[in-house]
Subunit: 176 residues, 2 copies
Amino acid sequence: MEFNITESIQILTKTPSVISNLLKDLPETWIKTNEGVDTWSPYDVVGHLIHGEKTDWIPRALIILGENEDKAFVPFDRFAQLKNSSSRTLKQLLAEFEELRTENIQKLQALSIDEQTLERKGIHPEFGEVTLKQLLATWVVHDLGHINQITRVMAKNYKIEVGPWTKYLAILRDKK
Amino acid sequence: MEFNITESIQILTKTPSVISNLLKDLPETWIKTNEGVDTWSPYDVVGHLIHGEKTDWIPRALIILGENEDKAFVPFDRFAQLKNSSSRTLKQLLAEFEELRTENIQKLQALSIDEQTLERKGIHPEFGEVTLKQLLATWVVHDLGHINQITRVMAKNYKIEVGPWTKYLAILRDKK
């Protein structure tokens, strides 16, 4: 499938409500349990998504499309949310994510992206030249990947309780 | 984590709105694309979930808790939705799933399940004796597994479009 900006915005717009729907009102154990050492809980994932809204997707799109000739991206810290052990509730994090995402979608729409704009380039610290289209497609897949992760982390809470049915539940064997 | 009936009902109640939220208003291509031969599209998954509401979870719970001495489950056809090539829209399927799930949660609540009830048994066609607790834990994990699958199938639509970022997007390499 080819990248489509309208469809991508549709999916990006859905993410905060999908995640909020999945997690809201669940007890702390479902929110804070992870898959073991160096893995993330649903709570950590929401913190990571917030950090992406602040430092990754739109800031990088603006580097690509801005006047400045230096097109180098600032490296994205994929573990930032783990360093700031936060005292905020999940509810507060979900509200912040939704607010930031709404603002960022508005900024994205204001860029009036067309086929030509999508081919403009920035410099990724590891990959070198990348296009705006690749950045935006990655944003969509990154969202879906973290919804995927949240459902997997949650499912594993009942790994033992399903008994013999584990045989037909591939999600319980999926790795981090 | 130990099985908890209240928390399980919370999660089971969320599923129709989570899936509807993920899929509604998306173009046909996002709904009907699958991962290749013998894999399911998001549309197929919703059909499968409907079939489970009709023939699997609550019917089996009622066999376990009912008066009848024969505790053998009817085998569940995991591919039923593929046989009835349906002309129904996704919107109709989502509405049917939500309606059936609401009814089934009401039936589940009416069973007033306690610790003792959870240990009662039925006979699975392949596994032999299974408990009501295992059946209900499986229902929860099965839901989460299919939300997980839908996000993975969707993400793979942009497998090529993400360019070099594929390296950091494990969801694009996850198997069916």
